[in-house]
Symmetry: D2
Subunit: 419 residues, 4 copies
Amino acid sequence: MHPDHDRADASARSDRPTTGLWLIGARGSVATTATLGLAALAGGHADPTGCVTARPGLATAAMPGFENIVIGGHDLSACPLPKRAEALADAGMLPSRLVTLTREALDAADAEVRPGHDPARPEGSGQATAERLAADIVAFRERHGLERVVVVDVASTEPLPDPLPEHDDAALLAAALADPDRTPLPASSLYAYAAILAGAPYAAFTPSASIALPALTHLATEHGIPFAGQDGKTGQTWLRTVVAPAFAARNLRVLSWSGTNLLGGGDGATLADPHAVDSKLSSKSRGLRAITGTDTTPLHIDYVPDLGDVKVAWDHVHAEGFLGSRLTLQTTWSAYDSMLAAPLVLDLARLLGLAHAAGLTGPIPELGFFFKDPWGSDLHDTAAQERALTDWVRDTAARVPATGAPRRNADGGAGEGSR
Amino acid sequence: MHPDHDRADASARSDRPTTGLWLIGARGSVATTATLGLAALAGGHADPTGCVTARPGLATAAMPGFENIVIGGHDLSACPLPKRAEALADAGMLPSRLVTLTREALDAADAEVRPGHDPARPEGSGQATAERLAADIVAFRERHGLERVVVVDVASTEPLPDPLPEHDDAALLAAALADPDRTPLPASSLYAYAAILAGAPYAAFTPSASIALPALTHLATEHGIPFAGQDGKTGQTWLRTVVAPAFAARNLRVLSWSGTNLLGGGDGATLADPHAVDSKLSSKSRGLRAITGTDTTPLHIDYVPDLGDVKVAWDHVHAEGFLGSRLTLQTTWSAYDSMLAAPLVLDLARLLGLAHAAGLTGPIPELGFFFKDPWGSDLHDTAAQERALTDWVRDTAARVPATGAPRRNADGGAGEGSR
Amino acid sequence: MHPDHDRADASARSDRPTTGLWLIGARGSVATTATLGLAALAGGHADPTGCVTARPGLATAAMPGFENIVIGGHDLSACPLPKRAEALADAGMLPSRLVTLTREALDAADAEVRPGHDPARPEGSGQATAERLAADIVAFRERHGLERVVVVDVASTEPLPDPLPEHDDAALLAAALADPDRTPLPASSLYAYAAILAGAPYAAFTPSASIALPALTHLATEHGIPFAGQDGKTGQTWLRTVVAPAFAARNLRVLSWSGTNLLGGGDGATLADPHAVDSKLSSKSRGLRAITGTDTTPLHIDYVPDLGDVKVAWDHVHAEGFLGSRLTLQTTWSAYDSMLAAPLVLDLARLLGLAHAAGLTGPIPELGFFFKDPWGSDLHDTAAQERALTDWVRDTAARVPATGAPRRNADGGAGEGSR
Amino acid sequence: MHPDHDRADASARSDRPTTGLWLIGARGSVATTATLGLAALAGGHADPTGCVTARPGLATAAMPGFENIVIGGHDLSACPLPKRAEALADAGMLPSRLVTLTREALDAADAEVRPGHDPARPEGSGQATAERLAADIVAFRERHGLERVVVVDVASTEPLPDPLPEHDDAALLAAALADPDRTPLPASSLYAYAAILAGAPYAAFTPSASIALPALTHLATEHGIPFAGQDGKTGQTWLRTVVAPAFAARNLRVLSWSGTNLLGGGDGATLADPHAVDSKLSSKSRGLRAITGTDTTPLHIDYVPDLGDVKVAWDHVHAEGFLGSRLTLQTTWSAYDSMLAAPLVLDLARLLGLAHAAGLTGPIPELGFFFKDPWGSDLHDTAAQERALTDWVRDTAARVPATGAPRRNADGGAGEGSR
Ligand SMILES: NC(=O)c1ccc[n+]([C@@H]2O[C@H](COP(=O)([O-])OP(=O)(O)OC[C@H]3O[C@@H](n4cnc5c(N)ncnc54)[C@H](O)[C@@H]3O)[C@@H](O)[C@H]2O)c1
Ligand SMILES: NC(=O)c1ccc[n+]([C@@H]2O[C@H](COP(=O)([O-])OP(=O)(O)OC[C@H]3O[C@@H](n4cnc5c(N)ncnc54)[C@H](O)[C@@H]3O)[C@@H](O)[C@H]2O)c1
Ligand SMILES: NC(=O)c1ccc[n+]([C@@H]2O[C@H](COP(=O)([O-])OP(=O)(O)OC[C@H]3O[C@@H](n4cnc5c(N)ncnc54)[C@H](O)[C@@H]3O)[C@@H](O)[C@H]2O)c1
Ligand SMILES: NC(=O)c1ccc[n+]([C@@H]2O[C@H](COP(=O)([O-])OP(=O)(O)OC[C@H]3O[C@@H](n4cnc5c(N)ncnc54)[C@H](O)[C@@H]3O)[C@@H](O)[C@H]2O)c1
Ligand code: NA
Ligand code: NA
């Protein structure tokens, strides 16, 4: 079932795991789908449809193959991966056939899940927590003899934290983290800090604060960590950033862009909380405003539990054309949200693996293609992002030996400083 | 109301007409809208919203300004332009205010409309007809002292002609054209031949045969005529070629793309004829198939007279994502069709004016952005076409003095004789 | 242009005004449209399309004809009706032709508009205010020698008032109304009280408190006033109460019914206020919940100024069918809101005129067809309401002489004794 | 899981089969779903959601219970019911759980399927064929000791036959049926004739000619057969006949009603044949034209195989409101077609069982609720049909003893001989 181009890549390298994918929220819907999907791909039970890195023009032997990736992670949930997968199959999202075929891999991945950090249950100083989390990542890398581990945050969206001076100043932050009576960082940022401590490339698939606090961004760059974010651009926002630039190219003036999202599932339940949804809503409108210059962009996310894992998004665009004439475009998008997200999470593992192998550090703006709120870039136009991504993969791959043997191994280890 | 960038261009050149726009179908809905719109733009009564050439990044002093363009054309209809404009205002499409403000210009343009060629009423040999039509164009050029006249076909869509050996062979064609008892060319091709005879750059905004017969294409290139086509990409097809490449970029597999168009107006009435609609339908599906590889693309165009000049287009896309999951996208587009087309017709006048000034001949693939069926190009992806267009304008403008004085006149170059 | 059945009615009666229509919010969008529309109907310039009472099966000579109705009202706005009508024509809603043809009638109606009560500018005790407003209504009735005046509230939607004991107890209310330092009633309820004092049948086209406070309802019934409400069921809610009963009849189980409204215009601006919108939102969901038993009915009203007077409503219905299968229905409704409302306002004038002529008092449940929140009835199913309305008109008309001469005139003054 | 009202009915009668349901097309998608569904209902594994006769207000002990119905039928397909059910489960329509739970019942029903009549393989005279088919029905009735067998045609839609004098004249028809060299009746009509011969109540769920030829209608009435049809009103047409009357009730004028259907599955494949689709298309537009008076109702049915058993239907309604204003309604309906049809097929078995028990003969207009093209009735308005159905069930049930013992058996009445 593997397309030929990918098979070709695969044959060039061994099936030995070289790259870890450590998921924050490892038992969630996106993570379960990614884990099952990776096993299905590696086992030849599925095509890499939906995986950007498997598409002709992007596939390259310089990236780890799907069969070279092994998964672990943190979660608070006690529901094991195979059970979650079954529930997602019963709900009509995952094919039962694949749940059966990948059960072993799901069990193996579940054995690599470690207890996460629950902000409702402080466990000593922030520094201690982060070190505990980092140790889990490092142990995973060593246990499997991996070249690197890519951390991807797919945990529940957090409310945005109140601003603190510690977020902007590494020294202040260090002091507060050392204090067991203070909690200067939300959970997502503690995980990001742990990734930094573990020397692991990092991606934020959520709109949570995560690594996006200046003090952490600075630290990450200092530690030679490449990172990318933020908030996976998978459905409605993706479509908007596909269509909006086309209006601009036609010199049509968007007057308003209104939208509603309906979703059930775990993410829907989380976003039913008005605090959590705020970070999502602002992240979703940013790109649209940037491209269209329009301020009228009312947007809603409604929790509709009976929809299960399906997301339905309706958009209504009102634009002005020639001589003041009006036109409208409506779109309705309906998809299993996690089925859109999971292959992109696998892509990020491969691409950040490549970035790390090539010795890149700091935010990778060329990965903006994957995100609603692209770090290091003002570009929201999906087609333009796609070109930037394609160019970046070609150029970066050229810096890395095709065997998959990373430059950094050659030149002596993680976070070398020169990078 | 003019955006600044355009004002700047305008100040650099005089308001003297340098470029003629000769419309085949000069009293139709698109032509009337273009004529009124040009007058409104030149008079400062409207912004060039919807004009691609007025958008930052494309606007250049090397193109004729709106105020440098004068309109004439051929039509069979006896309904004068001001009256057609009033009817379009009553139907809710054109703003009454602008009809009043541009009445003089509409009268002037109407005085430049010459009787077209009615295929139902043969008027001697094809050669004689074409020479009569060409003479109208040349007289128009001389009457106004124009540097060039761009011919754009916006007449009613014709049924496609039955294939003839004459279409492929210039010598055979010449013989048949000379024979008063034969009609080797449909009307649209006679007009295209007339443009060639008149040395006029040419664009086919319709899916009719026009210049796209090999014998004519060959002749046009020989005579140093730049030309572009075919079939304006203004609404549903535009949207499809915006969205379909984005599916491909995500490695999502389009399974089917179904669509329905509802429209009234003159174009709707024409396309209610099953013969005429065939050329349209095949032109509309070509790009989609090329991009998605999908064969299931049922498409309908229904004549719904009560909709007047509004076109409503519904699309249903069914795609496969990760692990065989299914997703759907529906779009509904609603717009005044001629309001979309008219500014692009003005753009084509400016761009073919530029091409001619730069001495280009033959099909201009970089104008594929404007067409459902791009001549000289296999590229249908709108974003990619937009880049190609932008690059082409920049490069071509560089070859032409900014005063609007064409290089080709100066250097006595290509196509000199035929003009 | 008048359909025959209506002509027939008209011929049976004189053109003399017999019935006043007193609009609270007389210079608003709905009121302006109703006033212009009435003049157009009476003048034979338009068909009564959209008027329920003009439809075969409902039209009856027992109701006042359109030509027997004269309009006046209260408003705070100083913008005269002809000017408002022009603005609505410029915005594309009202036909300019009709604005010209009805200018005289608009001027005449505007001369009948009296300053309303602005809650931000108290003007003595509530009793004094209500008496002032009632005097305006009575003077209008006498000035035109009318048999009766029907008051319809089409003013801006108010926030719902905080509950007070005075709302439930007529004696307490009387005391508070007498006190210049208290404001026990919101403006809409003062207007309703004024209608009661003037002996005028009353309808609430808005979701404001109006006559729906128990103390006022009681008073109205005591004074022999027939009344009807509440909140015109014109678009999305109408469609929902058409479709939802059909699901029930098929034994299909609605799981969720989600909706979004986009609107500009005056009503949109008012509803952009979260307090004002609350009364609207709760009124809109009531019927749906009653019919479907579903609790998941997220609903939004967004102010999208560029839409002007157009309302766009999207609904997404998720239902369960046989063997747990799922089905979805989406609807998109797009209409000029005031064009839907205005004919129903005229209908209410005719129908409450009929009710009053027949000596009915208290809430008229059979007028529930017109309202989102039908007073005196639990019936929301539009088809069932339509039957109830048709039966009611037939039965009530049978109690009133067909000449239009009201029973109450015959038996000596307002509703006296027999009611 | 059974709602109480139904349980109550059930308790009043034994579980012994009293009523046969004989399906023409017994191994098709609708038939398989109905058979599995009946077993699931009888076994208490599913609620009768989607069954009209299970809804409060219609449920009555005078009808056979689901547990009193046994299924058999004719088909050409050799694919056994359990296998077809599995295929429909794999395609995501039927729940796998229920396929497992009902396997025994599916096997049993499959054992009752007899070879149908294939028009491509004549098998002697029409009379002989019909007698063979009738014998299958009678044997089924006797084998199970049933009071009656209801025949429902759910076979593939046929092209409409060319008109013949034999269709209008019973004597001519008899002669032609006796002639082995003639085929005066299409297959669907042979099946209907067989039902008549077997004394079996009959329903046509398809738009095929079936019993709707005058000569057969006449014969059926003569033989005391109650029958109902034609063409199940399950999705788009149902929605249209729900919404269109509501426009009429508002005196809104429908200008055009345009629609497109996309479907895969067996029915989709059949309707991809332009001859077969014609009978469907004309049946679908009839009701709409009757209600709205509109002639502009373009309609398409497209075969989109990747949609499988899902039907997606888009409608666009353009209407005129007050003062010539325009409004639009769009609807998109998406459902598993067979899941809509199957419960109605079970309803028809129960209702025609009731009709037969009550001794009714000829077309039953009150069953028009179930059909696009209601025999014996001009009523298309779904709400009005629903009232007629409810009244009919109440009145008819009153004529039949609640034990399920049919009046007609007791009184030796109509149709006795043929049974
Ligand atoms: N298309 C998409 O699905 C999409 C797109 C963009 C962003 N996202 C984001 O991805 C995230 C995951 O979505 P999902 O549908 O899988 O949600 P989910 O609710 O199914 O999974 C979230 C998981 O995170 C875990 N979790 C919560 N708090 C945690 C903590 N402190 N530490 C460790 N684990 C924790 C939960 O236990 C759960 O297993 C969400 O934030 C969502 O907004 C998803
Ligand atoms: N968005 C768009 O409007 C759009 C997009 C793509 C292509 N087009 C094409 O543009 C063309 C014009 O569309 P329209 O809406 O203006 O149609 P229209 O019917 O309003 O105008 C067509 C005009 O062509 C004239 N005509 C017909 N035969 C002629 C002949 N032999 N010689 C000269 N004139 C002739 C007619 O008299 C009429 O005035 C159509 O072919 C249409 O398919 C339009
Ligand atoms: N389809 C519909 O249009 C529809 C349906 C249901 C209900 N309604 C209700 O009808 C009402 C009118 O809608 P509209 O679109 O005409 O709004 P609008 O804003 O155009 O008009 C409201 C008018 O009320 C006047 N007003 C405000 N406060 C007043 C007061 N205290 N006394 C007297 N006049 C006052 C305003 O000056 C304005 O002229 C709204 O409450 C709306 O919710 C409309
Ligand atoms: N919502 C709905 O599903 C719906 C609504 C209205 C009408 N219908 C009609 O119901 C019918 C069945 O639909 P389906 O989806 O089950 O189709 P299907 O193709 O799955 O099943 C049709 C069955 O009929 C059988 N058949 C064909 N010719 C036959 C013959 N001569 N004798 C006996 N059997 C024969 C086929 O073998 C097949 O098993 C179609 O005619 C369809 O138009 C369905
Ligand atoms: Na091409
Ligand atoms: Na009520």
